[in-house]
Amino acid sequence: MDKFLVLFITFSSSAALAAEKAGMPQLNPESWIPQIFWLALTFSVLYLVIAKIALPRLSESIEQRDDHISDHIDEAKNLKNQAEKKYQEYLSLIENAKKEAKDLINENKKKLQEEFENKKKELNTKLEVKLEEVDKEIQSFKKEAIQNIGSISSEVARELVQKISKIEANKASVNAIVEEVSKNYLKELN
């Protein structure tokens, strides 16, 4: 391998020397070694600058930006979800409120109905009681009236007798007569 390499180099450099004389400075082997040396040196420096300074800084700033952007996107997504949740909450709240209102209305309706019924019943019983009372009163009035009629009529009769006949009629006898007459009258009436 080494032999081959040496052979190759001597061959190519002798060929290059010939070409250089024909006018191509690139093929002058004298300039090769310094060029290779300086290429290696400068390229190594460039590689170090790129690998140790430029790339870390660049990737950091790019990553930072990507992070920033993705953070914002995440935040936006989060906010959107929250808004969605809030909206659903709002919807269910409205739904609940509607239901509650309906229930309330129904309940009150029922309550009112019941109250109304109760009041009606109460009133009815009160009325009945009152009617009965009134009835009794009337009845008692009737009785009283009849009794009073007896005494009044006996009084009237006595006065009549006194006015007409100028006789001081006996109170008891007048009463008896009136009672009998009224009894008869009542008998006829009944």
């Binding site: 400075p25 300039s31 060029q35 460039l46 790129i50 800084r57 950091e60």
Partner: protein, 244 residues
């Protein structure tokens, strides 16, 4: 100035003669432009990435665009496994690109127009990729030369062709870049020479050509840097994932 279009490629020592043992490593105009290239890239990246701001300025934006351009190129051609080689590919791309572009400035020197420079880079890539391939796959990396689904009769021929094509990778890679650069700059020089020799009367046509060629050469300078980097990615992909 010299009228010979090839004198622009001459390498001459500037400054003192430096020697290590018998080896001459004097600082030449070629070395100077390598240093300029590396300095330009380094200064640009160090300055542009200093702030690391959330909303990038113009320089930072450009640096990030280059970063993402090369990152995308690598992930598209060599996949995620090539991530550790990202600094190298980026350095390579930038070095070739900036060296090509600096070479477009009149009276400057084009580092990449020298076969030894491009060959050194290509050979380094070739050796590196081969080592990566053997480390990753062991001896079965040799399966690279045996494509699947080939009839047994053709196999010896195919294997020979595959080996030759593999071994010629550094040559094709380096010659492509070197030849493009040298041809373009020679042509520019030739047309520039025509402008001078034809004078004020006839020089307008080659001047127009020169302007057009300069535009074309800037395109070629970018394109060749891109091709150099993407071919490196493809070779790396072969080493990382045995497709055959």
């Amino acid at each position: 100035m010299a009228t010979n279009p090839m004198t622009q490629f001459e390498v001459y020592s500037i400054g003192p003669k430096i020697q290590i043992g018998n080896i001459d490593i004097s600082f030449t105009n070629s070395s100077l432009f390598m240093v300029i290239t590396v300095a330009l890239i380094s200064i640009f990246f160090i300055l542009s990435t200093q702030k690391k701001s959330l909303i990038p300025g113009k320089m930072q934006l450009l640096a990030e665009m280059i970063y993402e351009f090369v990152a995308k190129m690598i992930s598209d051609t060599a996949g995620k496994d090539a991530r550790p080689y990202f600094p190298f590919i980026l350095s390579l791309f930038l070095f070739v690109l900036v060296a090509n572009m600096v070479g477009m400035i009149p009276y400057s020197f084009t580092v990449t127009s020298h076969i030894i420079v491009t060959f050194a880079l290509a050979f380094f890539i070739f050796i590196g990729v081969t080592i990566i391939g053997f480390i990753k796959h062991g001896i079965s990396y040799l399966k690279l030369f045996v494509p699947s689904g080939v009839p047994a009769v053709l196999l010896p021929l195919i294997v020979v062709i595959e080996i030759i094509s593999y071994l010629s990778r550094p040559i094709s890679l380096s010659v492509r870049l070197f030849a493009n650069m040298m041809a373009g700059h020679t042509m520019l020089k030739v047309f520039g020479g025509f402008v001078v020799s034809l004078g004020i009367l006839g020089g307008w046509l080659p001047l127009g050509f020169s302007v057009a060629l300069t535009g074309l050469e800037i395109l070629v300078a970018f394109l060749q840097a891109y091709v150099f980097a993407i071919l490196t990615c493809i070779y790396l992909n072969d080493a990382l994932h045995l497709h055959h």
